[in-house]
């Protein structure tokens, strides 16, 4: 039974009712982090900060934005950009954050792959992280539609069209998603709803799940070492801080996090003030025109690699049309990373440079995704089409064939050694 006595301070009064002391311990001062990690482990806190920036800048954009095909373009490009005090600041912060958040997500993901942080009890961390990647992608796609420029319009047209490739229900599904026979007002208003309410809510829920899933297995470390967190925490609490392999999240680890965050924020605000153009496609400063396609359509940089997998297959194979193969490859590319913990058949948790062939695999994958990203923006003609094709095949082969094979060998060797 809880004890409610006369409290001597506001803190004590609250503590009796909300268990603040215990809560701080559980979430902060006795949440243990290994010492043996580097700046790459600060990406989570950077991501959290970027999400908060998106939320806050988004709320201010929302004060003047009008979700209506007749008004949207001017509400952004005239009202927000020219009339509202600091409207340009919110817009540039929002656009730049939406772009760099993906850079950080990719770094975060590849850190996880490099150090094997997706297995041995960390599968749920990985899966919830991938859910965040997918919901962020949907968030970025729906947000890109809102200014209702030419790129907004034609990206929406092409991406919603992709659902037409689903057998039997495809055509009807496209109309259902758009709420019209073409991308129209009903499409804008429903994606507006998704962008400003439903998806942010879902993202916040998944962020909660992501953090919670870290609780039991804890974060990995640079050597993939299995740490007895309870024993190490006892050492730290007993004052043997130098000997303990762990430090508390608050106030020790967070101070390192904040340093990395500080460096990142300088970079971020440099982009916001001096280099925001990369996040603002010039074609999108023409208002949407359903009767005129821009000569060259491409997605934002963070979708280019999967877009290139979609385009990579440009010739028919037997009964399969080029378009269907592309769609299937694109479908696989978008979900394949979910399966990472199972495609890796080895129990070894170690940094890639201690895993022999896996190390090579890792860098080939990274380079291949960079190639896909670069070629995703080039017109797919002549030699470019072939480079896109080989890079796409390589991508699928790396994940579906090479990874299981390499890691199976590794499992055998590890089994032999043990």
């Amino acid at each position: 039974m809880a004890q409610f006595e006369k409290a001597n301070s506001v803190y004590e009064w609250l503590d009796q009712r909300l268990a603040l002391t215990k809560l701080t311990k559980v979430l902060m001062t006795e949440y243990w982090i290994p010492k043996n990690i580097n700046f790459l482990w600060a990406m989570g806190v950077v991501l959290m900060t970027m999400f908060k920036i998106l939320l806050i800048s988004g709320i201010f954009l929302l004060m003047y934005y009008k979700p209506d095909t007749k008004l949207a373009f001017d509400s952004v490009n005239y009202t927000i950009m020219q009339e509202v005090w600091f409207g340009w600041l919110w817009r540039h912060m929002h656009g730049v954050a939406a772009s760099v958040v993906f850079l950080v997500i990719y770094i975060h993901m590849f850190t996880g792959i490099y150090y094997g942080s997706y297995k041995r009890g960390r599968e749920m961390i990985w899966l919830s992280g991938m859910l965040l990647f997918v919901t962020f992608s949907a968030e970025a796609f729906s947000g890109y539609m809102l200014p209702w420029g030419q790129m907004s319009y034609w990206a929406a047209q092409v991406i919603t069209n992709l659902f037409g490739g689903i057998p039997f229900i495809g055509d009807e599904l496209v109309i259902w998603i758009r709420g019209n026979f073409y991308v129209a007002d009903a499409t804008l208003t429903r994606f507006f709803m998704l962008h400003v309410l439903l998806l942010p809510l879902v993202i916040m829920g998944i962020i909660g799940l992501h953090f919670y899933s870290l609780r039991i297995p804890h974060v990995n470390n640079q050597e993939g070492e299995e740490i007895d967190f309870d024993a190490e925490a006892e050492k730290f609490k007993a004052g043997r801080k130098a000997e303990a392999k762990v430090i508390p999240f608050w106030p020790v680890f967070i101070s390192k996090d904040l340093f990395v965050l500080g460096v990142f924020m300088i970079f971020y605000f440099y982009l916001v003030f001096y280099h925001y153009n990369f996040a603002m496609d010039p074609i999108n400063f023409d208002p949407a025109n359903p009767m005129k396609t821009p000569p060259h359509i491409y997605p934002e940089w963070y979708f280019l690699w999967s877009y290139e997998v979609l385009r990579g297959f440009f010739f028919d194979v037997g009964p399969l049309s080029a378009m269907d193969i592309g769609l299937m490859a694109f479908g696989i590319a978008n979900v394949i990373f979910f399966l990472m913990p199972w495609l890796d058949r080895s129990p070894v948790v170690a940094p890639a440079h201690k895993r022999g062939p896996f190390f090579i695999w890792f860098w080939v994958l990274l380079v291949d995704m960079i190639v896909l990203t670069i070629w995703g923006k080039l017109p797919p003609t002549g030699i470019n089409a072939w480079i896109g094709f080989f890079a796409s095949i390589t991508f699928l082969g790396l994940l579906l064939v090479a990874l299981p094979m390499i890691t199976k060998q590794e499992a055998k060797r590890a089994g032999g050694a043990a």
Partner: protein, 167 residues
Amino acid sequence: MADQKRRDFIGMVFGGFAAAGGAAALYAMKRTWDPLPSVMAAGFTTVDLSPMKPGEFRTVTWRGKPIFILKKDHTDLKKCDDADVKVGEGDYLVRIGLCTHLGCIPAWEPGKQIFKCACHGGEFDACGANTFGPPPRPLDIPPFKIEGTKLVLGEEGPEYKKLVGKA
């Protein structure tokens, strides 16, 4: 035991009601996403073809999509019995002007007598057939009905059914 059965029964009744309510809610949500009746009703466009001259190319709008109309009689434009629409003496190509690859709008190039899609280089000939590049099939035929010299887009007439083999 009797008591347990009673509890199971109450549990099942509760579950049944909850499932029915859930299904009803899902149906309502699905319908809210459906195109509105006004959108469905606005799905017809009537075009009078009589003022068109041989070789003339027009784009009209139907359901927000561009519709290509090309008058081909009395010209050297390629004609195809199985692809053209005949209205009176006239011979027309009537197609949805969206590339069957990913939906860009191809441009009519009268010199080369092709539709050229700038997005990924697809080409279609004067019969709407895909002749080059990624498009997987010919330009789509919009549902139409012929009323005298007028073309009603959005309704499936006998000529349309014959053309797409649905008769």
